[in-house]
Symmetry: C2
């Protein structure tokens, strides 16, 4: 049996020729959660000019050198520079110019005195203190300098990254094309969404799960529905996946008599059929169908979820050109029953709570691979390494953070 790391390394090596996908230019306002295709480099300064940090008066600092509360200096109010405009003249000795926050500091002036510290009457500004040169002035380029690498290629764009790109005028922005991910469930026992299961059938849940999980990972799902356990039906469905960058199947890869996906892979592409030393999720198929990578996930819902997380999501992230294809790993303290180690790595669905700076992990319920209810509310998979003995309550254990969900609860 392969280890999780060996299986993932083989998958990532096999998709390397398909990654990253080509870049496309899109409007910045539609770029949320897309992956930057190339480093974003600033071309000019932000702010583009020296500007005022306050509403007040631009003046020459040297004019205020002798000002005290008892012996104020008065300056002639020579004009005004609101935000968005440039003062036409030059501030001369003995003059002050009204200025608003963010407006360019006029030539001649070298300081701004905030309005709260002055009095203005009859066209004269009274200054009762020494103002030092540079006071309340924001330098040009103080936020962004030309040539600065603002955001590295492979970064997922959130609101702050989008604001930064807008500040630098990077619009449209070049992002990686979203991988098209075909999703096929297989099995005679599956009733599709919206249909009442026949006797012996259960409702199919892996397609709805995977559609959502692929979207979260940054892919574009292509749902192919359900194929019955017949090679011709599976083949017909997979023919619709010709434009896909990746195919995900669920079911059909274990040792059952009707497990046909691996048979099709063997006939029409090249197949690696693996058992991976993990729980849930032991049986896994990977190969190429023609040129397209195909990942055959197990049919049990928890197994499909965990194997998508460990192998499918990294494949999608690699195609997107993400710097980091794996989820963040943290350490959390086990609360509740001890967990037995075994000969396979165990991924235990847990809910995390931060308590006094320490993460606490509690199981969401029973961990059998056919259970769907305990997937819900899981904010991490606790990673129980292969071995002997037990992980006891209170031990610090690595946890794979499912952090694009809502993984946290408030401290109590």
């Amino acid at each position: 049996m392969l280890t999780v790391e060996e299986a993932r390394a083989r998958i990532l090596a096999a998709i390397a020729p398909h990654a990253p996908l080509p870049a496309e230019a899109i409007p910045l306002t539609t770029a949320l959660d897309r992956i930057l295709a190339e480093d974003a480099i600033a071309h000019d300064e932000t702010p583009p000019f020296i500007n005022s940090a306050m509403d007040g008066y631009a003046l020459r600092a040297e004019d205020t050198q002798r000002a005290t509360p008892e012996t104020p200096v008065t300056l002639r109010l020579a004009g005004e520079v609101p935000a968005g405009r440039v003062y036409a003249g030059v501030v001369a000795p003995g003059e002050a110019v009204r200025i608003l926050t963010g407006a360019p500091v006029p030539d001649g002036a070298n300081a701004v005195l905030q309005q709260e510290l002055t009095e203005v009457a009859d066209g004269m500004v009274t200054v009762r203190q020494t103002v030092s040169s540079g006071n309340n002035m924001r330098p040009a380029g103080g936020d962004i300098r030309p040539g600065m690498r603002l955001i590295a290629a492979g970064t997922q764009l959130g609101p702050a990254e989008i604001a930064l790109l807008a500040a630098a005028g990077i619009h449209p922005v070049r992002v990686t094309r979203r991988p098209r991910v075909a999703i096929l469930a297989t099995g005679d026992e599956l009733a599709p969404l919206g249909e009442t299961p026949q006797p012996g059938q259960i409702r199919e849940t892996n397609s709805p799960y995977l559609i959502a999980a692929v979207l979260r990972a940054g892919g574009e799902p292509i749902p192919l529905g359900i194929a019955r356990d017949r090679t011709d039906e599976i083949r017909t469905k997979l023919d619709q996946a010709r434009t896909a960058d990746l195919i995900l199947t669920s079911g059909g890869v274990s040792v059952g008599d009707y497990d046909l996906v691996k048979q099709i892979l063997a006939e029409n592409g090249n197949i690696d059929f693996w058992r991976v030393r993990m729980k849930p999720g032991k049986p896994l198929a990977f190969g190429l169908l023609g040129e397209t990578p195909l990942l055959g996930l197990p049919g049990n819902p928890a197994s499909a979820a965990v194997t998508f997380e460990l192998f499918g999501r990294p494949a999608i992230r690699r195609m997107l050109g993400c710097a980091q294809v794996e989820r963040p790993m943290v350490k959390a303290r086990l609360i509740g029953s001890a967990i037995e180690r075994g000969d396979r790595r165990h991924f235990v669905r847990v809910r995390l709570l931060s308590h006094d700076g320490i993460l606490e992990a509690r199981q969401t319920g029973r961990q059998d691979s056919h259970l769907i209810s305990s997937l819900q509310g899981a904010s991490a998979y606790l990673v129980i390494a292969e071995g002997e003995g037990k992980v006891a309550e209170g031990e610090m254990v690595p946890a794979l953070l499912l952090n694009d969900a809502l993984p946290w609860e408030n401290e109590v």
Copy 2:
């Protein structure tokens, strides 16, 4: 000046008549990240029938009572029940039926023996061990029982929740309508996305930021562009926001001579003009424009981001009917320079790293409210309470987790 809590409580009280928004029924496959409008209650059992946990043979446990490796029992292979079908007959004494994982256990049988532990030849199944009643049988309703509350109203739907709703046949699903959020930037100094700033102008970044942040919060942004500093232009733009559930403006609410949003609010609605004891983000306007709540954010990018986070996002989440309108708060250890306390609560942009089970917080850069570059990469706002003295390196400090971004780095 109001505290952050007082300001938020007033805003949430004012939008209470608008929250939650009405429910709408949508296909489950399009429900990712939507908010469940009513408790999801299971109507039937999952799994719907007793089924096999293994590929193997359904049999009567009592037939195997005397079986040992040396004195095996042989059972007549009477038929087969693949997944998705029901065995027509009844398993009689001395019989076994081939069964696949997930298939209904036939009447008469009360145990399943996995195929690895048997030998089959010439229509006979050899059993070399005692099989206990119930072995490898999954009970009906073992995952979901009728009447169970699967997911509470107000929950955001992730992949696992969608799988659970699919398992229970809840499709279409009733979710809260997304709040329509109009977004208007104001200021003569602002150049819109895609245009070169004129002398004295800067590129506008709050609209792109807020469009993305509103999407992340679950709202539907209605971008209104930029209004110059003239009441008629602002009024014309706001007229386009008539269908909005919430209006966000940025700029125009501080003490500058051209701050006109508050003037329009005062004339055409009802206004609360506040200073909030926080940094960045002191000036904030809130009121009703006609019937529509309007939140006037400050113009500086960091101020707009932090005030949206503290006041705008909770308003949207309340309209969505979310159980929890505030972000999770955790404790993190300050790394790097000490932070001076002041008379306003300070929200410091930090990057979090989990190290040996403890979160470490490092500032992303200088914290001036006009800087955009240090918004980037922030995974939390460290909350420095009002007071005297300093928060020293190593202290544990509350942090507001911006967790729908990518808040974590791997442990190093």
